[in-house]
Amino acid sequence: MRTILTLALSAVALTACAVEAEDSDEPSVTVRLVIPDGNIREPGATCSGASAFRFAHPDAEYTLLDPSGTAVSVGTLPQGVAEKAFTIDLGDDQRQPTTCVMSLEVVGVGSVDGHSLVIADHFPVPIRPNPNLDDIPEAVLS
């Protein structure tokens, strides 16, 4: 009985290792999703899209489209983190106008040049490199 259990656990562990190894071989890219809602928050706080951007919330489905418009990846949005909306210093701890930024880890895609992002059933948003952040791919909702 104990032998069977040991074998079963070993099989599960080996399968998990295999899946992990397989995952690590897949290309992936991080896309910044910027939600310019201007909502008043503490910078660094967790956030979801506010006001007219409430549809962009954690667990909402997104689809990545390649330049031809073909869906190449789907996933769900993660929690966002509030970033200051303005570069002027309004103090570190004060609630102030912010944008909500979500980091999407898109697996199975090596490059997102010319790609666009669709959230739920909204219009596609182009993904472009942000020159101010080492050209990280970024989609800004509008």
């Binding site: 928050r41 503490e42 979801s48 954690p58």
Partner: protein, 184 residues
């Protein structure tokens, strides 16, 4: 012996699962107990926007009728809201402390009914909860992002609102200072 233990354990798990799925969703409170008194709102306090809301247990809340009896703590939330989960336990404790004295009311917006019920059960929410699917209540209370907590006095004056939420002793202090004079 081992087989009996295994069968017992499986039965216990199944029973626990059934009990959890059948736990009733919280409805509207009982009448306000004797000996309870409430604060008068400040003269400048604006009237709270009136609304009706269907609860996930099937009951309906008419806000004005509720305010005629007791104050209200409105808790705007969504199933995916991490800050809401972080504050939920402390809000639950206050809702139990002020049971039948203050109506705590959860208002979800875009979450589905299944997601809301899952949130309610996962977080042991002890007060009634409804879904404002068309967003009117969220709009009327300027709730742009969950959580948002609003305090409404007996007779329907809005006295406080906290985007980002509030819980624990800070919320208790405001309930004591602005809503409930004597909890009986």
């Amino acid at each position: 012996m081992r087989r009996a233990c295994l069968a017992g354990a499986i039965a216990a798990i199944l029973l626990a699962g059934c009990a959890a799925s059948e736990s009733p969703l919280v409805g509207l409170p009982s009448p306000v107990p004797d000996g309870v008194s409430f604060h008068e709102p400040p003269d400048a306090a604006p009237p709270a926007p009136d609304f009706e809301l269907e609860l996930v247990n099937g009951e309906n809340v008419d806000a004005a009728s509720a305010w005629a009896e007791r104050p209200m703590v409105l808790v705007f939330f969504e199933s995916w809201c991490e800050s809401c989960r972080d504050q939920q336990q402390e809000i639950n404790e206050l809702a139990e402390e002020y049971q039948d004295v203050v109506l705590f009311l959860g208002v979800a917006g875009l979450s589905s009914e299944d997601e809301v019920i899952e949130y309610v059960r996962d977080n042991d929410v002890v007060y009634p909860v409804g879904i404002d699917a068309d967003g009117d209540v969220w709009l009327d209370y300027a709730a742009t992002e969950p959580p948002l907590v609003a305090l409404i006095t007996k007779d329907g004056k809005i006295v406080r609102g906290w985007p980002g939420g509030i819980a624990g002793d800070r919320l208790r202090e405001h309930i004591e200072q602005e809503l409930v004079k004597d909890a009986g």
